[in-house]
């Protein structure tokens, strides 16, 4: 069902944990649907993501997409991190089964939520960043 990369990121998830006093933290998803992702970012004064950590409640794909998303944003600028879309996460994992695509959307949303929190804390506006939606199902329905 899952690609080797998904299994690898599920079995050996990268960057699990919390960051104390993070630059930004965002939680997306809901328990009703069975997926919740929380992403922590540590962003330096040049706007570069030095550290990314996550905690996830969810299926194998939810854990793997969280893990991959943290890997993809680490070392990137905020603008570069905004380019880490759900498609980018999926591609990096060699694909996801169709019923698990929402997990990759959740990962993208988690990055945005953490960046949104960072922007709010610092009173800045990040160009191209929209307020993240809490309910990923709404977005899925919109896209259908």
């Amino acid at each position: 069902m899952y690609s080797e990369k998904v299994m690898d990121h599920f079995n050996n998830p990268r960057n699990v944990g919390e960051i104390e006093n993070p630059s930004g933290v965002g939680t997306v998803g809901n328990a009703k649907c069975g997926d919740i992702m929380r992403m922590y970012l540590d962003i330096d004064e040049n706007g570069v993501i030095q550290e990314a950590k996550f905690k996830t409640f969810g299926c194998g794909a939810a854990v793997a997409t969280s893990s991959m998303a943290t890997e993809l944003v680490k070392g990137k600028t905020i603008q570069e991190a905004l380019q880490v879309t759900n498609k980018a996460v999926m591609e990096a994992l060699d694909g996801l089964p169709p019923v698990k695509v929402h997990c990759s959307l959740l990962a993208e949303e988690a990055i945005h939520a953490a960046l949104w929190d960072y922007a709010e804390k610092n009173n800045i506006k990040i160009e191209g960043l929209q307020k993240p939606v809490n309910d990923i199902e709404e977005r899925l329905e919109e896209e259908e």
Binding site: C33, F54, T56, C59
Partner: protein, 390 residues
């Protein structure tokens, strides 16, 4: 490998397999043929029918072989609805039935039938008072499972049968998980139709039975031949039927012995899991449950992750979590017993056989402890919970 998914399917035991074997290469005759070569096959089918009947106190000619439990459920419900459509169009079932029953009822709703889905209590026992209140003059069928496939709760079938009889309503029970595992008597329990499946009791996949009480004149479901007294067409699946009969005979002989072994292992497993893994609940009734069923919810974690990690330790198990079913909603059974979504997502079903050992259970519990702890350590729900406690 440790196989703890016997509610999904069981292995064909060597004893059963030996009896099936001749019906592939040697005794391959179509049992319905006239020549003497077919005679041996037909007598084997007759013998199997007798064994299938005796397990539930039925007459031999009240047993019809089908392709499995889902076919039997479809047949019973659709044909009963068709038979009685002039009398009424109201059917009573429960919220925790197998999808073979639920989806068939939903199909009939589209055909103009009305269905009442009776609720269950927090242990998954059908509410008898609610069931009785649901009975109307136009009620034509009550269909309630003998035991639930997920949480293992055994239903008050005798009481429901008596109720149906009192009101002159046909009573069907999906006994797929119960047949051969707990005592069933169709006469004492006033059962008019019963579905069972071979592969849940060490017979091969693709063979089942429907018990139809003599005098219940439901029509044929598969048309096209005179097999099964013209009520179920199709060349007899000799090998499968022989396997069913052999397994039914063994199940009858060993029912008590196997149940005793399984209950001992099951209760040991349940006690260890509940005692040693915090924030865990047992689902289903502690006593009125199938001998081989243990079903848990672990808070703060999700079922599919749990299954993958168990699999990596060689343990085959199952979950009613949304992610394993391809939908986003967790099991309808867990929601019906009143569990909130986030708890229902963390479910695990372990179903034993009499062949499992205490060592296997010990290994499973040890792994389960590690896996649950690991998944909780990466769960934001657990993180929030711990912070709230502090």
């Amino acid at each position: 490998m440790i196989y703890l998914d016997n509610a999904a399917t069981t292995r064909v035991t060597e004893e059963v397999f030996e009896q099936i074997k001749p019906y592939f290469c040697e005794q391959y005759a179509n049992p319905s043929a006239i020549y003497s070569f077919a005679g041996k096959a037909m007598s084997a089918v007759d013998e199997a029918r007798k064994n299938a009947a005796e397990l539930i106190g039925a007459e031999t000619n009240e047993i019809y072989f089908t392709a499995g439990g889902s076919e039997s459920d479809n047949w019973a419900i659709k044909a009963a609805a068709e038979l009685n459509k002039d009398k009424g169009r109201h059917i009573i079932t429960s919220t925790i039935e197998h999808h073979a029953v639920l989806h068939t009822c939903q199909y009939l709703e589209k055909q103009g039938y009305e269905v009442t889905y009776v609720n269950v209590d927090e242990n998954g026992v059908v509410r008898l008072d609610e069931l009785e209140k649901a009975i109307r003059p136009d009620t034509i069928l009550i269909t309630i499972m003998t035991a639930n496939n997920e949480i293992g709760t055994i239903q008050p079938i005798a009481e429901i049968g008596a109720l149906a009889k009192k009101h002159g309503i046909l009573f069907h029970t999906d006994a797929v998980q119960a047949y051969g595992h707990i005592p069933i008597n169709v006469n004492e329990m006033n059962i008019d139709m019963l579905s069972a499946s071979g592969h849940k009791l060490n017979a091969p996949k693709g063979v089942g039975i429907m018990y139809i009480r003599k005098g219940v004149r439901i029509g044929s479901f598969i048309h096209g031949g005179a097999q099964e007294r013209s009520r179920r067409a199709g060349t007899l699946n000799t090998a499968g039927i022989v396997g069913f009969g052999a397994a039914a005979k063994i199940a009858k002989e060993k029912l008590e012995e196997n149940a005793k072994k399984e209950i001992e292992l099951r209760d040991y497993l349940i006690k260890r899991v509940i005692d040693e893994i915090p924030y865990t609940r047992l689902n289903g009734d502690a006593v009125k449950r199938l001998p081989n069923n243990a079903h848990f919810c672990f808070r703060f974690i999700e079922g599919e992750s749990l299954l993958i990690l168990l699999d990596q330790n060689g343990i085959c198990a199952s979950s009613g979590s949304a992610c394993t079913s391809g939908s986003l909603d967790p099991s309808h059974v867990l929601l019906a017993i009143g569990l909130p979504h986030e708890i229902a997502h963390g479910s695990l079903r372990l179903t034993l056989s009499a062949e499992n050992t205490k060592d296997e259970i010990d290994f499973t519990v040890e792994k389960l402890k590690e896996i649950v702890a690991r998944l909780r350590s990466m769960s934001p729900l657990y993180e929030d919970f711990v912070k709230q406690q502090a």
